[in-house]
Point group: D2
C-alpha cells in the first residue's frame, strides 16, 4: 500500500462500449494512483455506462491538478460526463426548513460529529429564528424569509441569491413545506434534495400520512429525491418504510414518520456528498456504502 495521501473520487458516465474500464484504470495506474473502491453499472436499457472510483496517489506521484489535466484528454476521447473531487474537499450545503425541525436538528447533529461530510453554508426558513430556539446553529448564517403567494417570486429570488453568495453547491429541503417554483427547481437541478413523507409513488401531494391512514396501508415510508419542476416526480435517491397497523392514528404516523424521514434524508444527502449518486435520466444510480 502507498503512504497515506489524499483520496480522490472520480465519477463518470458515457455511452457504453468496450475498453472504458481498461482506459480509465490504466490512466490511473500510470499516474501512480491506487484504486481503493470501484463500482460500475452498465445500463443495458439506456446503453449508458456509470462508474465511481476512489483512489489515492503514491507519495511524490502526480498532484490532483495533474491528474485532472491528464484525465481531461481521456474524458474527451471517451465522451465522458465526469467529475473529480478531492475527498477532503467538503461541499457547501444550504439547508431549508419550516416549522418541523426534526430533519434540520438531525442533519445539524450529524454534521457536528463529522458523520456527514459537508460545510453548512446557511439555514433558510420561512419561520423565525425563535422557532429553533433550542438548536445551536453554531455561527451558521440564518435567513428568515417569510413567504406568501404574493411574495413568492421575491422570496425565491432571495433564496437563489443566498445560494450563490454563500458558495453553496447543494440545497436540502429538510421538511421545507413550500413547493419550489419551476424556475428555482430548474436552477437547482440535480443538486437539490427533498424529503417527501410517503413511499412514492404512493400518496403524492399534501398530507401523505393522512392519505396513508385513509387507505389503510400496512407499511408507511419516506422518499428522498432530487427536486424537479414535476412535483414528487423527481429521481428517487433513497426510500425506507416501517410497519404500521390499524391502531395507528394519523398523529401516530406523523410521529413514526419522523424517524424514517430523518434517516432517509441523511442517507441520501451523505451519498450525494460522497458522489455515490449519478443521474440516469429520471432515475438514479446509487453506489451504496
Amino acid at each position: 500500500m502507498t503512504a497515506p495521501t489524499d483520496q480522490f473520487i472520480l465519477t463518470l458516465s458515457c455511452p457504453n462500449r468496450p475498453g472504458i474500464v481498461a482506459r480509465v484504470s490504466t490512466f490511473l495506474f500510470e499516474k501512480g494512483c491506487n484504486i481503493l473502491e470501484a463500482q460500475q453499472f452498465d445500463d443495458t436499457e439506456s446503453g449508458r455506462f456509470f462508474m465511481r472510483v476512489v483512489f489515492n496517489v503514491a507519495t511524490g506521484a502526480a498532484t490532483g491538478a495533474e491528474i485532472r489535466a491528464g484525465f481531461a484528454a481521456v474524458a474527451e476521447a471517451l465522451a465522458l460526463t465526469w467529475g473529480l473531487r478531492d475527498k477532503a474537499d467538503k461541499r457547501r450545503v444550504l439547508l431549508l426548513a419550516s416549522k418541523f425541525d426534526h430533519c434540520l436538528a438531525d442533519l445539524l447533529y450529524r454534521w457536528r460529529i463529522g458523520e456527514i461530510p459537508m460545510e453548512i453554508s446557511g439555514i433558510v426558513s420561512n419561520h423565525a429564528r425563535e422557532t429553533y430556539a433550542h438548536l445551536d446553529f453554531d455561527g451558521i448564517a440564518f435567513h428568515h424569509l417569510p413567504v406568501t403567494k404574493a411574495t413568492k417570486l421575491e422570496q425565491e429570488t432571495e433564496i437563489w441569491r443566498i445560494f450563490q453568495a454563500s458558495g453553496s453547491e447543494v440545497a436540502v429541503l429538510a421538511r421545507y413545506m413550500q413547493v419550489l417554483s419551476d424556475g428555482l427547481s430548474a436552477k437547482l437541478s440535480g443538486r437539490c434534495i427533498n424529503i417527501h413523507h410517503s413511499f412514492l409513488p404512493g400518496f403524492k401531494g399534501a398530507k401523505p400520512y393522512h392519505q396513508a391512514h385513509a387507505r389503510g396501508v400496512k407499511l408507511m415510508g419516506a422518499t428522498a429525491h432530487y427536486v424537479t419542476s414535476d412535483l414528487d416526480e423527481g429521481p428517487i435517491i433513497e426510500q425506507d418504510v416501517e410497519r404500521i397497523s390499524h391502531q395507528d392514528s394519523p398523529e401516530d404516523l406523523v410521529r413514526k414518520g419522523r424517524d424514517i424521514e430523518r434517516r432517509v434524508l441523511a442517507r441520501a444527502l451523505s451519498w450525494h456528498l460522497e458522489d455515490r449518486v449519478l443521474l440516469n435520466g429520471s432515475k438514479t444510480v446509487v453506489f451504496r456504502d
Copy 2:
C-alpha cells in the same frame, strides 16, 4: 388451567359504548370458558369497536352449541356483528391460479404440512393441468376453465357454481391473472383474497414490476387485499417490501417479487382463516399473531 378441550374463536364489532368487554367476558366466565387470547380495537374515527377472543371450555361445562345460543342474546342486546367458530373446524378454500404457480405451490406446501388451517375445496385455472405437471394435487379437484373475452360470463358462472357446489367459504386469487367482474366480486365480497404484485397504492394495474423499474423506486413490494369491484382498491390485509437497486432489471424484480408475493399471500390467508382480519369500511383491522 382447565383440561384441554376445543378452542373457540369469537369475533365481533359494534358501535362503541361502555361495558362491551364486561358483558362479553362475564358471559364467557359464566359459561365456564377461559380466555386464552383477546385483542380489541376502538376506532375513534368510525366509533366502532372490534374484538377477537380465543377461549376454551372447562370439561363438563357448556357445549359449543349452548355457548352460541346463549351468546346470541348478548349479541342482540349490544347490536353486534359477530362470528363464533370452533378453532378445529377448517374452512374450505378454493384456489385460483394462472400460468405462474409459485403462490399455488407455496400454499399447497403450507397446507400439506399443516401450517395453514384449511381444506382445499378445489383448484381452478385458466390453464390446463399439464401446466402444473410437477405439483402433486393430492386428489384435490382441478377445474380447467379457459377464458376469453367472449366467454368470461360463462366462465365466471362456472367458477361461482364450483365455489358453491364445493362448499367453499374462501376464494384465493393465487396470481390468477384474470380480473373478476363486478358481479363475481360482489358475490365473493369479504371472502376473496388477491395478491397484487406491487406495494399499493403505487403501481396499480398491469405489469407493476415494469412500472416500478421505470420509476426507479428503491424498495418494491406486494399487497394482499380483499377483492372488490374497484380494481386494486380493496381493503388491504398485508404488505411487505424488499430493497432493490438500479442493477435490478424488470426480470430481477419478477424473481425477487415471487418471494414477497408468496409470503404476503400466505400470511394474509392464514390470518383470514384464523379470524384475525375484521373489515372496517374500506380498511381492515388485523389482530396479528
Copy 3:
C-alpha cells in the same frame, strides 16, 4: 363516547385462572369507565396472565382515587401484581451518558417536542459539561460524576442519592459506558434501561461492533434491556438490526449503529413510560403500539 376526561393505564399480572377479564372489566364498567385499549397475554409456560387496559371515566363518575381504592379489593381477591396511573402523570427520568452523546441528544430532542412522555429529572455523566457544549439542557440539572476503579463505590452512592433526591422513577443508560455494580443494579431493578450496541445474545461485553466485524455477520443490531447484575443478560425490551456488508469497517458499524441504538432506546423507553412493558421472569411482555 364519554366526554373527554383523564385517561388511566391499568397494568396487572397474576396466576392465570378463568374470570379475570370479566372481573376487571365489570369493575371498570360499574365505575363508569370506558375501555379504550386492552391487551392481554396468557403465558401457558409460566401459567401467568398479563393485562394492560387504557380507559377514561365518564364525567361525574368516579375519581382516580376512588377507582384506585375500589380496585384494591379486586386486586387482593385475584392476587394481582398491579399498577394504575393517570396517563397525564409523567414519570421522572434520570439520564446517564458518557462521551458519545447521540442517544442523549436524541432523547432530549424527543422529550422537547413531546414525543416521549417524561420529565427529565437530571443528567449524570462521567464527563464534564463541556463534552455536551452544543446541547441545550434547558435548565435540567447536570451532574458531573467522574469515576475511577477506586472511586466507583462513592460515585454510585452519589448516583443513587441523586436518583432519590430528584424523585426519579426511571434511569436510562444512554450509552453510559460504566458497568453498574450489582448493588446499584439491584436498587434500580426493573426501572433501569440500558442500550447495548449489539443484537444480543451475540457479542456481549466490550466493543461489540468490532466483534461483529471480526465474525463477519451480515446484519448488525442493538438491544435495549433492563439492567440486572448479570451483565448483558437482563430482560430484553426491544431490538432492531440493519444490513451490513464486507465493505463496512468497524468505524462504519459504529456510524450505522448510532441510528439503530437511538431508535431502539427511544422505543424501549417510550414503551416503558407508557406501561407497555411487563416483566415476566427473565423476559418481557411488550404490548407494542
Copy 4:
C-alpha cells in the same frame, strides 16, 4: 454493444497493489471482451484485493479456452487466486436433507423454474423416500443413507463417494440434521453450505428456536454459512431476521423460521453458484445482486 455471446464470470483475489484493475481490464479489452458488471473490494485489514467481473466476447474474438490460457499468464504475474467460468455452465449440486423438507422443497421448486442456476446431482437423506412422498424428484437420484453413531463413518464415506461419483461441485445441507465429521467437513471445505436456524453467533448448537424463546429475543433469524469443522463457526454468507413477540411459542418460532430459512439458504446458494461469494479467511466477501 457486441452481439450476444456467452457470458463469462471471472473471480480473483490477491495481495493488493496498484495496477491490478488496469492489468485485468486491459487484458479483457485486448481479447475483445466487454465488461458487463464488475465489483471489487480492497480489504485494508488483510491487505487482500477481491474482484468479480462478468463479461462477454465480441463475435469472432477469442474463445473461452483462449481467454483462459491468456489469463493464466496475467494471473501468475499478479499471484492471483482465480476462477473463470462460462456463465451457462451449471454447477452440479448435491442436496442433503432430513425429516423437515421445507428447504428441500423450496430449492427443488426454484431449480425447476430456472431461478437457481444448477443441476441437481442427487438427493441424500437419512430418511426414506416415503418421507418426501409429495415431492416430485423428477428423476433425480435419491440416496437413503440412514445413520447411527456406530455407522456414521460408513455413511459419510458413502456420501463422499456419491458426491464424487455424481460429479458434484457443491453440497447443500438443506436442514440435514446430522453434524458432519471433521474429515468430511475438510473434504467439502468452501463448497458445502449449511442453513442454521438462528441468527449466529447467537444460539449455536441444538434447538436454537427454543433457546431464542427462552432468552426472550424480539427478532429471530437464520444463517447460511460454509461448513467447517468448527460447528456453527463457518464463514457466514447470508442472514436474515423477522420480528417476533412474547406471544410466540417455540412452535410459532419454528413455523415463522421456515420462511426465513428457505429464503436465506436460497439466496446463499444462488450467490455461491453465481460466483458472488469469495472466501476471505473466516469471513466472506459477497458481491450481492
